[in-house]
Symmetry: C2
Subunit: 365 residues, 2 copies
């Protein structure tokens, strides 16, 4: 009863060509005339054909359902929560998650996507690397082979479903939280170059400054990274430089690309004898569970990570199981600032201030 999965022969018949020609189209051979390629592609769409790599009776029957998940950092609790969300719905629907990380490298991403589709995953959830010079052929190959995928981060040039948060707006609100507290020397610790989210968040910082009477100068954006060590290094560098005589110019508030960077920064501040939030206010991003476990709990922009994973998986599975080739869907969820102990009013009024004047006395530098 159950309609059989179409095979390459069905496509060939429908397009009025041979199996070999269809195969050539699938493998992006340049020996195919544009007209015939189009005919084949149309037939693929029409039948919703999905090629398989399997041989024998395998191809027709045995199929364990699997969803590939492409992330960018194994050591980021952000992804752990997104994956947990995706897993909960995948599991309920009989899919298993296969996770691969590009670690921010474009070449690794390319290889990973190729591998996953070579392994016949039924669909893909991906956080793509931002790389101006990189080609997008691996995503186009997914399209060609009709493998559904959902992105968790926009990538220019690929029409695809996406689940995300409005990062520029959220980042703007993070900065405005500091403005509202009276901070005037505010800085942003930006993420890695490979992150579109980082660019969006930088943009948000820019907009917050634009809406204020504060000047957006070059030193507002400090390139940090995505990891604990990045925030630590950048924090040490910045605040050591702005120590001693230059202390009056030091920022009193910092928004960070993510919570890990913020935690790294907090360590640097601690080691330099600056208190959080008395001397410097710090706001993270993502609202990782760890925020609540720190001695001074971290104010952070809450991102509904688990829900993002769930929504992405639901959307993807719907597309996988749909009879029609899927139309791209876009879902934007809300982020909300969670204020905890790491933010407060700036040390003195605003201008030049002797360190440790108004705030509770510091124990020891």
């Amino acid at each position: 009863m159950t309609a059989k999965r179409p095979t390459i022969s069905d496509v060939a018949a429908s397009a009025g060509v041979s199996k070999a020609t269809v195969s050539a189209v699938l493998n992006d051979s340049d020996t195919v005339k544009d007209a015939t390629r189009d005919r084949v592609l149309t037939a693929i769409e029409l039948l919703n054909y999905r090629p398989t790599q399997l041989g024998g009776r395998n191809a027709a029957t045995r199929r364990d359902r699997a969803i590939g998940v492409l992330i960018k950092e194994y050591d980021n609790p952000y992804y752990a929560e997104v994956i947990a969300g995706a897993r909960s719905v995948a599991d309920a629907r009989g899919y298993t998650l296969l996770v691969v990380s590009s670690e921010g490298e474009y070449a690794a991403e390319h290889k990973a996507v190729a591998l996953l589709r070579g392994k016949d995953v039924d669909g893909l959830i991906a956080t793509p690397v931002l790389d101006e010079h990189a080609d997008l052929s691996h995503f186009f190959e997914l399209k060609r082979r009709n493998v559904p995928f959902v992105l968790l981060e926009e990538v220019r040039g690929v029409r695809a479903s996406i689940v995300d948060v409005d990062n520029v707006e959220a980042s703007r609100r993070a900065v405005e939280h500091l403005f509202a507290l009276g901070h005037t020397r505010v800085v942003h610790f930006a993420g890695p170059a490979y992150s579109a989210h980082s660019e969006e968040r930088v943009d948000g910082v820019h907009r917050a400054f634009s809406s204020s009477h504060l000047a957006f100068t070059d030193d507002v954006i400090v390139r940090a990274g995505a990891h604990l060590a990045d925030g630590y290094r950048a924090g040490l560098a910045l605040f050591r430089r702005k120590g001693g005589a230059a202390a009056a110019e030091a920022p009193t508030g910092v928004t960070c690309y993510n919570d890990l960077v913020a935690i790294g920064l907090c360590r640097a501040l601690r080691e330099l004898g600056r208190r959080v939030p008395e001397d410097v206010s710090v706001v993270g991003y993502d609202d990782v569970p760890l925020c609540d476990y720190l001695a001074v709990p971290l104010t952070s922009m809450h991102v509904p990570k688990s829900e993002m994973g769930e929504r992405a998986a639901e959307m993807l599975i719907r597309q996988i199981e749909s009879k029609q080739p899927p139309a791209p869907e876009k879902v934007y969820l809300d982020a909300a600032l969670v204020v905890r102990g790491s933010t407060g009013p700036p040390p003195a009024a605003s201008g030049a201030a002797a360190p440790g004047a108004a705030a509770p006395a510091a124990p020891k530098p």
Copy 2:
């Protein structure tokens, strides 16, 4: 020139049976006589045959090399480092890592291993779940199909390569560190039931007590878990109970299954107004990078996670690429205690003590 990969036909010929019979053996069909099964299995070993699921020319040529990695928790930085180590060597050798987590559930582990081998991974690195009642058929299937795998945690009943640390010894030393500082009321926050490592570490605690003059009672072992929230909950429960009048009986030192649990415990202590290390000393396990980033840095048992991943991957790839079927290898690496700020002498001498007596004066409760 390059010796072709043996096929099912080669095995059939070598064993003097038909392809169908070999197929039956591979799929664990019970219609095969023991004698013939043995002959087939021997032929498989002899030729070092590895079945493939792929069809067409794929099977002979196109092969992206992949290593499956089975972990137990996505949200544990321990695995992030092990994976990073494995990835570094896998990458250099042209292998891509596919990570799947069982999240501690046996059924998920079974499914994951089946999936991975269905996807034709070249080998597997696995941290198996501890489950007395569970069958090990998925690992035997790997054996039957000659898929190399290395474990990162012992599992009774499976002869396999392993890379690990001597957990009972390491755990014993963690406890003895507290004993050496003068602690007499010491407790261990144990890990989840699915963890063999947890059992080993509990065993280590037991041995430390045995070598001391302290009595090992039932309350020495507190079942916590593997996550931040587990340590927090268990910590709140234990120290709330031992508050007020019972405070004199409260433990002054705690060793934990891992760093996450320790961090959770520290939060509980903070919220209950107990200072670390002045009132309670806490020691973690794994020595995750985060330890250095806490306001009171965490004393922890350092496990060479990255090296474990590297060694496991090296061993596995050697077995994958070997002409001979591999003999199981066992590697045990050294753990070493890293003393940081979270441990110190107990509040008073040892018996009933008023809090905050001998330790350096606290700024404010």
